[in-house]
């Protein structure tokens, strides 16, 4: 990274701090606007004796929900299979992402010089989006 030596970065203070303050104000504005125009949902009180028809988790767990649903198709392997494979499979995916730097040991950083990692990453993002939308409508 030789080019970094001749390009001087911007000083932390005041340039960067000022920019950060602007961003913090924008975040506050966004949150207040969201909280005002789309209030936090207020459902009915929990009733342990009546199960609602459709139980959906928060949107960021929809991928997990949909994967568990898809794993139900594996019941030909036996009654144990769907849940165990669904849960363990997700555990393995999380473990792979967790230990990614220890699996992908190359030192190349430019995206176009490591096509396999980037293609896998894009496929991962696309499947995340598809499974989330699918989970929302299924």
């Amino acid at each position: 990274m030789k080019k970094n030596e001749d390009i001087k970065g911007e000083p932390f203070f005041p340039h960067h701090v000022l920019k950060q303050l602007i961003i913090i104000l924008l975040i506050f504005g966004l949150l207040i606007a969201l909280a005002t125009y789309i209030p936090a949902p207020m459902e009915i009180k929990a009733d342990p004796y009546s199960t609602p028809e459709h139980i959906k988790p928060e949107w960021y767990f929809l991928i997990s929900y949909q994967l568990l649903k898809l794993a139900e198709k594996l019941d030909f392997l036996g009654p144990w299979a769907p849940k165990v494979i669904g849960v363990l499979g997700q555990g393995i995916i999380i473990a792979i992402i967790f230990f990614l730097p220890f699996i992908d040991r190359g030192s190349e950083r430019y995206p176009h010089k490591r096509p396999i990692a980037i293609i896998l990453g894009i496929l991962g993002v696309i499947s995340f989006i598809i499974l989330t939308i699918w989970g929302h409508y299924s």
Binding site: N4, I55, Y60, F61, P111
Partner: protein, 248 residues
Amino acid sequence: MDIEEKGSRKRDIEKRTLFRELFNIFSLTGFLYGPLDERLRFRDALEKQLKKTTPHYRFFIERNFLACLGGITFILFLIQLLTGVLLLMYYRPTVAEAYESIVEITNNIHFGWLIRGMHHWAANVMIITVILHILRVFAVGAYKPPRDFNWSTGMTLLLLTFTFGFSGYLLPWSQISYWATTVGTDSIGAIPFIGEALKYFVRGGPQVSQLALTRFFALHVVILPGVTFIFLGLHFLMIRRQGISDPL
């Protein structure tokens, strides 16, 4: 001599800026140290920190948005702490009263709706920014050694964020949160060998009930923030130690 004179005038102008004044006020806190300030000059330490440069990114969007995602997530976490403490003042973690206290916060407490709404929305926005932050780090290969360890502390923070979301979802004790938690904890039971025991431990019994609410409350309000602080400290210390990865 002429040049020298110009230089000293320039320095005088520099000295008079608002930021210079602010800096002087900050450096006064060195007096609070007392004798310690002799050994570790507060003023020097502060000056060194403030003069540190942030990397120069070539693209507008990277400079102003992509490179800030981690910082934005941290700001959102601080907002969650603040609004969370405020909610804590009125929330009652019992099966009989939890829902009523949320209704009270929303309808009767001054600005309760705003604090609750901000807590709700900051949680959701935080998930988005944390995922975008990971994607950026992945795209520019900033997770490569020597920053491989920091990727793992970051992933731990991601899992903690999800656990925050999962445990916080039960606290309003509404119909959807009760049943989503029932189904969610049910899938813990599918883990071979330890699953059933773990499920019983998380719920505090065979069903989601008062004990589950107490446990989720303790997790959400005490345990998770504590653990998150430890990992945030590690995450930031490593960035300080290794520096921000060079822009591509």
